[in-house]
C-alpha cells in the first residue's frame, strides 16, 4: 500500500502542477513600459506609455511606483480587442505625462498590473532629466484653442478650474472634432495628490486619444495661469446633434499648507486629508452634417478623409497560368482610415481574386488623426496573355473641400505565360491574417459509388428495446447484492440458517418416511414423520430437537398465530406418531401415509402463513 500511496501521491502532484500551469499559460499577459523622450529638461514633459497585451477581458489601471521628483498626469487610455483563433486578445495602452521637477538620472521601477488574481510587472525604464528652461511655452501650444470657446468663462476669483472646447462645432459624418480639456491653475492653491481625470462620455462618436499633454502659460483677467491641456479626437458616426459630455477632474486641495508655486500642482503621493473637490467641464454640442447626396460617385462606401492616396503593388508581373500573384493595395490619408472599406479589384474573367488579409496603422501628428490601410489579395491568372490589372478606385468625401473625390492607383501590366494543364484547375487558398501563405492545393477527389447506399432509418439507440436492455446490467447487480447478503446471513446467523432450511429438511424426512411406509415399515415411518415435524419446529425456533416438547410446539404455533386447523392437524399427526411409537399395534401403514401427508400440508400452510 505504501508503494501505491507514493505512486498516487506523485501522480496527483504531477496532475496539480500540469493543471496549475494551464491557466498561467492561457492568460499570457505581457506588460511593457516605455518612456519617450528618454532625455528631458526640468519642467519639460515625457510620455510614459504602458501597454498591456494578452488574453483577458476586464482589468483596471496599472499601479505606478512612487515617482518622486515628477508631476504625473494621466493623459488617456486606448484599448483594442481582437479575436484570434476564437479567443479574445486585448491590448490596453495607458499614457501618463511625466513632468520632472529636478535634474538627475531616474529609474522608474517595474509597473504592476493585476489581471484576476495574478500580478504582472513591466520592465523598468530610465529617464534622464537635465537642467534647462521651464519647458513651458509662453502661450498655447500646437493646436491649443482659446478655452473661452464653448468652455467655462473663468471668474477672477477662481484659482483652479477646467474648461473644455472643440476646434469646430459643425462637422460632417466621420470628420474629426478635436476636443480639448484645459486645466487652469494660478498657483495660489496646492494639491495633495495628482488630479484624477475622467474623460467625457460621448455617444455616437468613435474616439481617439491624442497624446501628449501640452503645457503653457496663459493670461486671463490679468492673472497668469499655468494651463495643462489634454486633447481627444472625436469622429461622429451618424448625422445629427451630439454632445461630448462633461469631463471630470478630481483634486484634493491642501487647505493647510498653501505655498503658491506652480510646480507642486501635480505632486504625487504626499498623503494628508485635504479638501476633495471635483472640477467639471460643460458638455459641448457638435452638429454633425450628413454627407451631401449630390455628386456622390459610384462605389462610394462612406469613406471620409483628406488627401487620400491609393497605391498598388504586385510581387510579380510575369507569371504562369495558375501561379498566384500577391497584390497589396495601400490607402493612406488624413482622417479615420477605419472607415475605408476594402477596395474591390475589378472583376476580370482572366483572373480569380481572393482576399487574404488587411492591416491598419494610425498616426496622430499635431493632434490630427491620419492613417494607412493595407489590403492584401491573391490574384490567380486563368488564361495566358498580356493583361492590365485595372486601377483601384477609392471614392471618398473630403470634408475640408466639401467635395467628393476619387483616389486612384496605377494599372499593373501582367504577362501570363502558358502553364501545365493542371495549373488552370488548381484552387489557391489563402491562410488568415499576416501569416498569409499560398499553397497550391486542391480539395481531395470525390469518392466512388459505395457498395451499399443505406436509407435513413431509426437509429438503434432511439428504440425502446435499447433503453430496456440498459436496465439488465443494473438488475443483475441488484440481484447479486440480494443473493450475497442472504449468503452472508446464512453463514453468520445460525437461527436464520436453520429457519431457512427447516422446510427443506422436513420435506426430506417426510420423503424418507413415505419410503418407509411404502416398504411396510410403519414404525420407522412414524418415527421419521415425528422427526420431520419436531425437526422443523426445532429449526424454526433455533432450539435443540432433543428437548423439544409437544407443549413447546403448541406454544410456538400460538405465538406465530397459526390457524386452529393447522394446529389441530399437526397435533393429530404428533399424537399419531406418539401412539405408533409407544402403543403396540398403532403403527398402521395407511395411517402413517395419511399422517405424513397431513404433516406436509400443515407445514406448507405454516410456511405460507409465515410469509
Amino acid at each position: 500500500m505504501g508503494l501505491v500511496r507514493r505512486f498516487l501521491g506523485r501522480a496527483l502532484t504531477a496532475g496539480i502542477i500540469v493543471v496549475a500551469s494551464l491557466p498561467a499559460r492561457a492568460d499570457d499577459v505581457a506588460v511593457k513600459a516605455s518612456v519617450e523622450p528618454t532625455v528631458v529638461e526640468v519642467g519639460g514633459q515625457a510620455v510614459l506609455t504602458v501597454i498591456v497585451e494578452g488574453k483577458f477581458r476586464r482589468a483596471g489601471a496599472p499601479e505606478l511606483p512612487p515617482l518622486d521628483g515628477f508631476d504625473v498626469f494621466e493623459s488617456g487610455t486606448s484599448q483594442n480587442f481582437s479575436f484570434v483563433n476564437g479567443q479574445v486578445q486585448s491590448s490596453l495602452t495607458f499614457h501618463y505625462v511625466l513632468s520632472p521637477r529636478k535634474e538627475g538620472a531616474f529609474r522608474i521601477e517595474p509597473i504592476r498590473y493585476t489581471v484576476g488574481d495574478k500580478v504582472y510587472t513591466a520592465n523598468p525604464v530610465t529617464l534622464d532629466v537635465v537642467a534647462g528652461g521651464a519647458g513651458i511655452a509662453p502661450g498655447p501650444g500646437p493646436g491649443a484653442q482659446d478655452p473661452g470657446q464653448g468652455g467655462i468663462a473663468p471668474s477672477s476669483e477662481e484659482s483652479i478650474f477646467v474648461a473644455a472646447s472643440v476646434d469646430r462645432d459643425t462637422v460632417f459624418v466621420n470628420q474629426q472634432v478635436t476636443w480639448s480639456l484645459g486645466y487652469y491653475t494660478d498657483g495660489r492653491v496646492e494639491l495633495l495628490r495628482s488630479p484624477n481625470y475622467s474623460p467625457p462620455e460621448a455617444e455616437g462618436f468613435w474616439v481617439e486619444d491624442l497624446p501628449p499633454q501640452s503645457k503653457y502659460y496663459r493670461t486671463l483677467h490679468g492673472r497668469q495661469y499655468l494651463v495643462s491641456e489634454i486633447k481627444r479626437g472625436y469622429f461622429p458616426t451618424a448625422p445629427g446633434t451630439y454632445k461630448v459630455g462633461e469631463a471630470r477632474v478630481d483634486i484634493v486641495l491642501d487647505n493647510v499648507n498653501r505655498r503658491g508655486v506652480f510646480d507642486d500642482f501635480f505632486s504625487r503621493g504626499r498623503g494628508g486629508f485635504g479638501e476633495p473637490r471635483t472640477l467639471r467641464t460643460d458638455p459641448v454640442e457638435v452638429v454633425v452634417l450628413p454627407l451631401p447626396s449630390a455628386g456622390k460617385p459610384t462605389g462610394f462606401s462612406g469613406a471620409v478623409a483628406s488627401d487620400l492616396v491609393v497605391s498598388i503593388v504586385a510581387d510579380k508581373q510575369v507569371v504562369q497560368v495558375g501561379e498566384p500573384i500577391n497584390v497589396s493595395v495601400e490607402v493612406s490619408g488624413v482622417g479615420n482610415m477605419r472607415t475605408i472599406a476594402p477596395p474591390k479589384l475589378a472583376d476580370l474573367a482572366q483572373f480569380k481574386t481572393y482576399e487574404s488579409g488587411s492591416s491598419n496603422d494610425s498616426f496622430k501628428k499635431d493632434y490630427v488623426v491620419s492613417g494607412r490601410r493595407k489590403f492584401d489579395f491573391v490574384v490567380v491568372p486563368q488564361v495566358e496573355g498580356s493583361f492590365k490589372m485595372p486601377a483601384v478606385r477609392v471614392p471618398y468625401f473630403d470634408p475640408e473641400l466639401k467635395l467628393y473625390q476619387v483616389a486612384q492607383s496605377a494599372e499593373i501590366p501582367v504577362d501570363v505565360q502558358p502553364g501545365t494543364p493542371e495549373d488552370g484547375r488548381k484552387v489557391i487558398y489563402a491562410g488568415g491574417g499576416d501569416d498569409f501563405e499560398v499553397i497550391n492545393r486542391d480539395i481531395r477527389f470525390i469518392h466512388a459509388v459505395p457498395a451499399s447506399l443505406p436509407v435513413a432509418s431509426r437509429p438503434f439507440y432511439a428504440h425502446p428495446v435499447f433503453f430496456a436492455l440498459q436496465a439488465l446490467p443494473m438488475l443483475l447487480l441488484g440481484a447479486s447484492v440480494v443473493v450475497e447478503r442472504r449468503r452472508r446471513r446464512l453463514r453468520s446467523d445460525v437461527g436464520f440458517a436453520r429457519a431457512s432450511r427447516a422446510r427443506r429438511e422436513a420435506e426430506r424426512k417426510l420423503a424418507e418416511a413415505e419410503r418407509a411406509f411404502r416398504d411396510g415399515n410403519a414404525s420407522d415411518g412414524f418415527g421419521r414423520v415425528h422427526a420431520a415435524v419436531f425437526g422443523y419446529f426445532a429449526d424454526k425456533m433455533n432450539a435443540p430437537v432433543a428437548g423439544l416438547t409437544t407443549d413447546a410446539v403448541e406454544a410456538h404455533l400460538r405465538e406465530t398465530h397459526a390457524s386452529e386447523e393447522v394446529t389441530a392437524s399437526l397435533k393429530a399427526v404428533i399424537d399419531a406418531c406418539d401412539a405408533a411409537r409407544y402403543a403396540a399395534g398403532a403403527a398402521d401403514v395407511e395411517r402413517g401415509r395419511e399422517g405424513a401427508a397431513r404433516a406436509r400440508e400443515a407445514l406448507i400452510a405454516l410456511e405460507r402463513g409465515s410469509r
Binding site: 489563402a430 447506399l453 432509418s457 438503434f460 443483475l476 450475497e484
Partner: protein, 276 residues
C-alpha cells in the same frame, strides 16, 4: 453500426416529401452519373444528381462528401461546409472529409470565427470528436455493462469462486502488481471504468441531443446580419458570412438565436441557415 442518426431520417423525410416525383432511377445509378458529371467539370449537374440521391433518403458519408466537393467546385463554400460537416458526422475519421473541410474553412471570410484548437486538446478529445454517435452509444453501453459486471464481482469478492477467478485472471492486473488486494484492485478498476463510462455517456448524450435538437447550423447565405432580437427593427450587431458554423440556441417563428465563438450571440433569419 449500420444505424443512422435521427437527423438524417428527418432530413431524408423532408427532402423526400419535397421531391417525391424524382425516384425513377436507382440511387446507385444517379450517384454514378453525378460522379461522371463531376469528373467532366459539370458541377451544377453533379450537385443536381447528388441531391436527388440524398432526397431518395440515402444516408452516406461518401454521398455527402461528394456533394460537398461539388458545391466547393461550384463556388458554394457555405453549402460545401454544410455537406462536409454532415459527412463528418457519419465518418469522423475519414481523412478526405477532414482535409477538404479544413481547406474550405481556410477560404471562408469569417476565418477568425473558426476556432483553432490547441493540438493537445484536439488529441485529448479525439475519442469524442472522431467517433460517430452510434459508436459513442455502443462504447458507453458496453462499458456501463462492464461496470455493472465489475460491481457484481465486487459484491462476491469474498466468495471462493471469485478468489479462484481473480487468481487466474489478475496476473497482469496493475493493481495486483502494485500490491493491492483483490478488493482494492477491483475498486480501482471500477473507479477507472466509472470515469470512462461518465465521459463516454456525456459524449454520447451530447451527440444524440445535438442530432435531435439540430443544435448546429451553417450559414448558407452570402452575408447575414445578426440582429439583437428576433426582428428586423432590432439593431444589427455584426455580420457573418457563408460557411460560418453557429450553435443554435433558441428559435422563434422565422428566427433563430445563434451563438458564435467569442461570446458573440444574436438572432438571424432562419432561412439563412441550414442545420447540420
Amino acid at each position: 453500426m449500420n444505424a443512422v442518426p435521427a437527423w438524417t431520417l428527418a432530413l431524408a423525410m423532408v427532402l423526400t416529401a419535397s421531391r417525391a416525383g424524382a425516384q425513377d432511377e436507382a440511387p446507385a445509378d444517379q450517384f454514378a452519373r453525378a460522379n461522371a458529371a463531376y469528373e467532366a467539370g459539370d458541377y451544377a449537374a453533379a450537385i443536381d444528381d447528388y441531391t436527388r440521391v440524398a432526397e431518395a433518403g440515402v444516408v452516406s458519408s461518401d454521398l455527402y462528401y461528394n456533394l460537398g466537393n461539388a458545391y466547393f467546385k461550384d463556388g458554394g463554400l457555405g453549402r460545401a461546409v454544410l455537406w462536409y460537416e454532415r459527412a463528418r458526422r457519419l465518418a469522423p475519421r475519414d481523412p478526405d472529409v477532414r482535409d477538404n473541410l479544413d481547406l474550405t474553412r481556410s477560404l471562408l471570410r469569417d476565418k477568425q470565427l473558426v476556432t483553432a484548437e490547441p493540438r493537445w486538446r484536439r488529441a485529448l478529445l479525439a475519442w469524442h470528436r472522431d467517433t460517430t454517435t452510434a459508436e459513442s452509444v455502443v462504447a458507453a453501453s458496453a462499458l456501463y455493462a462492464l461496470l455493472c459486471l465489475l460491481g457484481v464481482l465486487f459484491v462476491f469478492r469474498q466468495s471462493e469462486w471469485f478468489s479462484r477467478l481473480y487468481a487466474r485472471l489478475s496476473i497482469l492486473s496493475p493493481g495486483r502488481l502494485l500490491g493491492l488486494d483483490k478488493a482494492q484492485d477491483l475498486g480501482v478498476a471500477m473507479a477507472i471504468v466509472f470515469l470512462v463510462v461518465g465521459a463516454l455517456t456525456t459524449s454520447a448524450v451530447s451527440k444524440v441531443r445535438a442530432e435531435g435538437a439540430r443544435a448546429q447550423g451553417v450559414v448558407v447565405a452570402q452575408e447575414v446580419s445578426v440582429f439583437s432580437g428576433p426582428s428586423r427593427d432590432a439593431s444589427v450587431q455584426f455580420k457573418v458570412h457563408e460557411g460560418t458554423l453557429v450553435s443554435v440556441r433558441d428559435a422563434r417563428p422565422g428566427w433563430v438565436r445563434v451563438d458564435l465563438p467569442g461570446d458573440l450571440s444574436g438572432w438571424v433569419d432562419e432561412t439563412t441557415l441550414d442545420p447540420i
